[in-house]
């Protein structure tokens, strides 16, 4: 375990419904870094993230977070440790309004005054959500729901933000907007692990990247290098 890393995964294997979905991967995220994990559909990216969040049990391998082995920690305990997940498909609480969704993000905290301050910060970061604060989350557009899911995750004051396919099912313009926000959050010093099928956008935003193929990491390196890599270009960048 390297103390320089905020998150370190070593030889992680996850079996999912009888299938070995993740076949021994290692990756790391340093504090303040934006790391992208790219790969095609079914490569095991989401399974990796779900395991990191404690939603799936690993078959073997280790996950270290802030130098501690996360093995014993349940999903809800990882949130109090500062890990926040923006789940695949956003997972907003459809029948609660925007403010209630955001407050749910602060479930693990109890300082009411600080929570209210953060609520204002989120509305400043996402003015669109402020306009819709009383609206039910289920009636928001896909992009607004993605913003809400991200803001909700930030409400737990995480040190590591884990984003699962934030561009999924969104209009191109909205995708641009979401990625602008991700860069903005990253520029403020947040450590981010980003999972994406949209490799170009993810690598443009990230400092480092990993390429995952059928459960294993096949390439890794600086994001710029990956963007210029022939194999990556052929497989993921359409060129």
């Amino acid at each position: 375990m390297n103390p320089e890393y905020l998150l370190e995964i070593r030889d992680l294997k996850v079996a999912y419904g009888g299938i070995q979905a993740v076949k021994g991967i290692s990756l790391n995220v340093a504090p303040g870094e934006l790391v992208a994990l790219i790969g095609s559909n079914g490569a095991g990216k989401s399974t990796t993230l779900k395991t990191l969040a404690g939603l799936l049990p690993p078959a073997s391998g280790h996950v270290y977070y802030q130098g501690k082995n996360l093995k014993e920690l349940a999903a809800h305990q990882r949130v109090t440790q500062g890990m926040a997940l923006v789940p695949e498909g956003r997972g907003v609480f459809a029948r609660l309004n925007v403010t209630e969704n955001l407050l749910m993000g602060a479930y693990s905290r109890d300082n009411r005054a600080e929570i209210n301050l953060d609520l204002d910060r989120m509305y400043a970061l996402f003015p669109r959500l402020a306009e819709r604060c009383g609206q039910l989350a289920g009636t928001l557009s896909g992009g607004e729901q993605q913003m809400l899911a991200m803001a909700r995750a930030l409400m737990s004051r995480p040190r590591l933000l884990m984003l699962d396919e934030p561009s999924m099912g969104l209009a191109p313009l909205m995708v641009q907007k979401i990625f602008e926000t991700i860069r903005e959050i990253s520029a403020q010093g947040m450590s981010i692990l980003l999972i994406e099928q949209n490799a170009r956008l993810a690598l443009q935003a990230a400092s480092r990247g990993y390429v995952m193929e059928s459960g294993a990491i096949t390439l890794s390196g600086a994001a710029v290098e990956l963007l210029g890599n022939d194999a990556v270009q052929r497989a993921y960048l359409g060129g």
Binding site: G54, A74, P87, G91, A149
Partner: protein, 371 residues
């Protein structure tokens, strides 16, 4: 100020003291107008409301579809029956002569706790199940409990099988026996009225508890689980414990009302706890408005009282019109009930009084508090 009388009426309908007085006078008014039997029906309506509110915690708040809820009512009822009748003493000659006969304030929390324990027993193996799968398991659980009650008269006669347990002590609070007419405040108050007041106060407690729970941290966590379990876990909610808590809490309310039922009836048998009863209570919750306390109460009142009204009107009506009974009220009841459910699903799918979410969508204000 042309609508001053309307305003006054509006104010009256929203004042707490008006409703308290109305509810206190209700058994006397019912007795005078319709007779004793109807006060008894009101008593049962109160029990049903308690059950529906308990089930509302499991289904309306936490979103766990429980089709075997009546089992917890049965656990509470048999708990009261076994501790409050001579049956245990005859089944186990070693035990105390004539039965244990615990006081009401001991047996009631015990019944609630025991039912809560059964709630966890049901919840633990079903934690990973949702929706239809959970419904099937809970349905099976409800039947298992009933079949156990039906057959546990051998090898040791614990439940007395299909004959049920009789000679159960009536509820008595501070030496006041509720099974006989009591002189109170210079009036002769019949037994059914006394039970009505007892059930009314417990219903009030259950409403209070439901309201507090809804607004609490626990209630918010339940709602998050109902909406999206994975996202709820990602918020830092301990989904396992909170789901178990929902099962236990709902079951405890069911157990307490079961104990009250046993004391009121003086007799329990497995046939009171059939699948149909579970479905009736579920219908009360769904018909009234899942997740909304006022709606659930309305659903309970309607489904407990309307069938009785039908029973009492259909026979005289048919005899008056045709001189004989053509349609049996029981089958007519099911026909109308089924029809009403279909109409509801078509025109008011969220229930008669939808929960606050739907209300907010429609942009209207608070609706009536109590029936």
């Amino acid at each position: 100020m042309q609508n001053a009388p309307e305003k006054r009426l509006h104010k009256l309908l929203h004042s707490r003291s008006f409703w308290v007085c109305a509810l206190l006078l209700l058994p006397f008014a019912t007795d005078a107008l319709l007779g004793h039997g109807w006060v008894r029906i009101l008593d049962f309506a109160m029990l049903y409301i308690m059950l529906a509110l308990g089930l509302n915690i499991v289904i309306g708040y936490a979103g766990l579809l429980d089709l075997g809820y009546i089992a917890f009512f049965a656990v509470g009822a048999y708990c009261y029956a076994l501790t409050g009748s001579p049956h245990l003493a005859t089944a186990f000659p070693l035990s105390i002569e004539g039965g244990v006969h615990w006081p009401f304030w001991v047996v009631l929390p015990f019944a609630a706790l025991l039912a809560g324990g059964f709630g966890i027993l049901l919840g633990a193996p079903t934690l990973r199940l949702r929706g239809d799968y959970l419904a099937i398991v809970t349905l099976g659980f409800g039947e298992i409990i009933r079949i156990f009650l039906n057959n546990l008269n051998a090898p040791v006669n614990l439940t007395n099988g299909p004959q049920g347990i009789s000679r159960i002590d009536p509820v008595s609070i501070a030496n006041l026996h509720l099974n006989v007419t009591q002189p109170l405040f210079g009036m002769e108050i019949p037994s059914v009225h006394l039970y009505f007041y007892l059930f009314l106060s417990f219903t009030w407690l259950v409403i209070l508890a439901s309201k507090r729970l809804e607004k609490s941290r626990i209630g918010r966590a339940w709602m998050a689980i109902r909406e999206d379990e994975i996202a709820a876990a990602a918020m830092g909610i301990n989904t396992r414990n909170l789901k178990l808590l929902a099962f236990a809490m709902g079951a405890a309310f069911g157990g307490a009302s079961g104990a009250l039922f046993a004391g009121f009836q003086g007799f329990v048998s497995p046939e009171s706890f059939s699948l149909m009863e579970s479905i009736m209570i579920l219908c009360m919750v769904v018909l009234g408005g899942m997740g909304n306390i006022a709606g659930v109460i309305l659903g309970g009142v309607l489904l407990a009282i309307l069938p009785e009204m039908l029973r009492h009107s259909v026979i005289p009506l048919q005899q008056g019109l045709f001189g004989k009974i053509i349609v049996d009220p029981e089958s007519l009841r099911m026909l109308l009930f089924g029809g009403a459910l279909i109409v509801m699903m078509l025109y008011r799918p969220a229930g008669l009084l939808p929960s606050r979410v739907r209300r907010r969508e429609l942009g209207s204000d608070e609706m009536a508090e109590k029936p």
